[in-house]
């Protein structure tokens, strides 16, 4: 086995730091609200697998604190992988701090002149504006996915820029856009909100369509053109409610600007049912028959109780995130955060956008599945589908069946003679040599005709299909093995806490000193996750000169992981002595993972891989 340092020099060529300085960061993201920054830092520190190395690397980041939740590993790993990274990063760190909104505009201008108006509007100090420029349908102009943005310095080639938002952030984002539209179009905020929701938050398109056909746009959005009057309930002499048929001069009534007037009780009941039972918020229409006017938030606030208002806002936020292409809810159970990321669906064949939620869940922004680096979403879907179809039965099929030489139907021989007749295509053949039965002459039941042409053709076809299956099983078994091992490692992780406690008492180490086990365990999980998906990736990979490097990287990571996993299982009494080894091995695993992922992502981005399937 090679020594680790030797390996480094061999694999040095696949690290990518040298290319990182070439691109100045283009997006200014320094306007995150303070609460997030605080939370994020806390999360990062918790997560960091290498506390010591990380402390150093965190230095410049804390000073500026403008990084949207970096990968857990990036800082620590950079520290180890490449010494040049430190001075380099602090230099360009400064550069980045100098980026102003004006530069943002300028950079977007260069993408496309059409963006200039739009993005300069964005720069009017709106807190949320920064995010939308990423996520609008205008993104066709590639504002969101730009090599320079996604592969900016300090970020590994497989990492993407993203930001985690909590519900108040999301509400503020909405509010920012509502205020903006309301200032531009001169509409009341509650109407601007309805307009925006109708236009799925595509401000620019909306404003354009409003400028062209104001009345039609308002009508389509369920707003109407009349903005007179304030929302208040009143009593109307001689009124009868069309819903409950109650009348009385002292009946409190309400009507929106469409003039459909109902008693407050009915209105309230109607809204309550829509919100609570039907989960509707953005598209609640006037209760009037055939009226498509949308109930605005002002009317709603006037009529319903506080808990319903709360629910209403929740539902609006949900619709907002669902509507925006650049937002996605964290799929972890009970997680309240959403992630903002500029990677578009059409970019997914070039990049695997793994994001990290504050809740510590790592998932793919493209498909919401758990982190599946380095395999692109489409291949992941194909693989999972294939596994679902194949793996349970594949082994059995391989062991017990053959394919009909003509129609390739899978056939199980359940006893009897060697004269097979395919039930599907009626082909008659010999089970032993797979040759035509008609060529068998009299040597029935005792096949010795190995040299026949038809037989050898059939056997080679058979061998081919068998080898497909074997190839699949090769990758599947390794994939499944890492999945299984990750589970076992996880069980171990649950015992780690206990281990650490006993280690503290038996070895006299302090709590902080035994954290290395926690770190090691997390690194192990992550590496296994990656390894698992490298096998799915490799299954679809067609051989070229890059696959060898990939397989070497895979092998190195695998060896490192297995040896770390082994150390981890040592009795508690020996763990204290192994601390340095475990720390080293953990760092090494993490680094190997970074190298493998960087290399794979770089090639994916540049279209260097060839695949044996269309996708």
């Amino acid at each position: 086995m090679l020594h680790e340092s030797e390996l480094n020099s061999i694999k040095g060529k696949v690290t990518c730091d040298s290319s990182l300085l070439a691109y100045p960061r283009q997006l200014c993201r320094s306007d995150i609200t303070p609460p997030i920054t605080r939370k994020r830092k806390a999360a990062e520190v918790d997560n960091d697998p290498l506390p010591k190395a990380a402390t150093k690397a965190h230095g410049p980041r804390h000073a500026t604190s403008d990084r949207p939740a970096l990968s857990k590993h990036s800082s620590a790993a950079t520290e180890i992988t490449d010494n040049r990274a430190s001075p380099a990063s602090s230099a360009s760190q400064k550069k980045r701090d100098l980026v102003t909104p004006a530069t943002t505009t300028a950079s977007m201008d260069s993408d496309d002149d059409f963006m200039s108006d739009v993005s300069s509007q964005d720069d009017f100090g709106m807190q949320a504006s920064d995010n939308d420029s990423l996520g609008e349908d205008f993104g066709d102009l590639d504002a969101g996915f730009d090599d320079k943005d996604i592969f900016g310095h300090k970020r590994k080639p497989y990492e993407v820029e993203f930001k985690v938002l909590d519900p108040p952030d999301i509400e503020n984002e909405q509010l920012g856009q509502v205020n903006e539209v309301c200032a531009i179009l001169g509409l009341p905020p509650e109407s601007a909100a309805i307009l925006l929701r109708f236009g799925r938050w595509n401000k620019e398109k909306l404003i354009e369509s409003y400028m062209e056909h104001p009345e039609k746009t308002l009508e389509d959005a369920g707003l109407g053109t009349n903005f007179e009057g304030t929302a208040k309930t009143e009593t109307v002499p001689g009124f009868m409610c069309d819903i409950c048929c109650e009348d009385g001069d002292d009946l409190e009534t309400y009507a929106m600007r469409c003039g459909h007037r109902f008693c407050v009780d009915c209105y309230r009941h109607y809204l309550g049912q829509k919100i609570k039972e039907e989960g509707e918020a953005a598209r609640i229409q006037c209760p009037g028959d055939g009226c498509n006017r949308i109930v605005d938030s002002k009317s709603l606030d006037l009529l319903v109780t506080d808990d319903l208002k709360e629910r209403y806002r929740e539902l609006l936020t949900r619709t907002y995130v669902d509507d925006k292409e650049n937002l996605r809810w964290c799929p972890a159970p009970n997680c309240k955060y959403a992630v903002d990321c500029g990677v578009k669906n059409r970019d997914l064949h070039r990049i695997v956008p793994t994001v990290h939620c504050f809740c510590k869940h790592e998932f793919c922004f493209g498909c919401s599945l758990s982190d599946h680096q380095p395999t692109p979403c489409t291949l992941v879907k194909m693989w999972l589908q294939k596994c679902e179809d194949d793996s349970e039965t594949a082994n059995w099929i391989s062991a017990n069946t053959k394919e009909c030489p003509r129609c390739m139907s899978t056939i199980e021989k359940n006893g009897g003679c060697n004269h097979m007749t395919c039930r599907k295509c009626k082909h008659e053949f010999c089970w032993m040599c797979m040759g035509l039965w008609s060529e068998h002459g009299t040597s029935w039941y005792n096949c010795n005709r190995y040299e026949e042409k038809s037989g050898s053709d059939a056997r080679s076809a058979q061998a081919k299909s068998r080898s497909f299956l074997e190839r699949y099983l090769h990758y599947y078994n390794r994939y499944a093995n890492h999945e299984q091992s990750a589970k076992l490692d996880k069980d171990l992780y649950l015992k780690t806490e206990k281990k650490m406690t006993s280690l503290q008492s038996s070895s006299g180490l302090s709590w902080i000193e035994v954290q290395f086990l926690d770190t090691a365990s997390q690194a192990l999980q992550q590496c296994r996750q990656t390894l698992k998906w490298t096998y799915a990736f490799a299954f679809y990979l067609a051989r070229n000169n890059l696959t060898e490097i990939f397989e070497d990287n895979q092998k190195d990571l695998e060896m490192a992981v297995e040896s770390l996993s082994e150390m981890f299982e040592k009795p508690v009494s020996e763990l204290a002595e192994l601390k340095v080894d475990i720390l080293d091995k953990t760092a090494y695993c993490t680094k190997r993972r970074v190298i493998l992922l960087s290399d794979t992502a770089e090639n994916l981005k540049n279209g260097e891989w060839s695949f044996n399937v269309e996708w």
């Binding site: 069309d242 819903i243 009780d265 009915c266 009941h269 049912q273 039907e278 229409q285 028959d289 009226c291």
Partner: protein, 152 residues
């Protein structure tokens, strides 16, 4: 809520000035929520001369929840299920389209209109819808046959 008052009012209106071809009564005098509707097949439809018994059920949350309409008389129609339920699928009766101020009278008139002009794209009986679109003559023949057999 005033649902009883509203239902009583609608019932009175429908009894006093019934829409063309529609006659309503309560299935049980003590229960405002179950109605029997006698519907005449519209002229110029294969259901002409047929008398169809339609059941109209009002949920307790009426008028905030929509009523349901079903044909007790068997009918050959793309929008009515060909089973013992005879459910009719009406767009305006879907929970998200129903408005509390919509009226039963409108529902029934709409249902009768549907007999004259089926909506094959919203069909519950795909086969009948197919036939309605591709072989109108045969559809009308069967529908007339069924009307004679079940609704006369």
């Amino acid at each position: 809520m005033g649902s009883q008052k509203r239902i009583a009012k609608e019932l009175t209106e429908l009894t006093e000035s019934p829409p063309a071809g529609i006659m309503v009564e309560l299935a049980d005098e003590a229960n405002l929520y179950e109605w029997k509707v006698h519907m005449e097949g519209p002229e110029k439809s294969p259901f002409h001369n047929g008398k169809f018994l339609v059941k109209l059920s009002l949920p307790t949350e009426y008028p905030f929840k929509p009523p349901t309409v079903s044909f007790a008389t068997k009918i050959y129609h793309p929008n009515v299920t060909n089973d013992d339920k005879g459910s009719m699928c009406l767009g305006m009766l879907r929970a998200d389209e129903w408005k509390p101020s919509s009226k039963i009278s409108a529902v029934l008139q709409f249902a009768r209109q549907l007999l004259a002009e089926p909506m094959p794209d919203d069909a519950v009986e795909g086969r009948i819808a197919e036939q309605y679109k591709n072989d109108r003559a045969r559809y009308e023949e069967v529908a007339r046959e069924w009307t004679r057999k079940h609704a006369c």
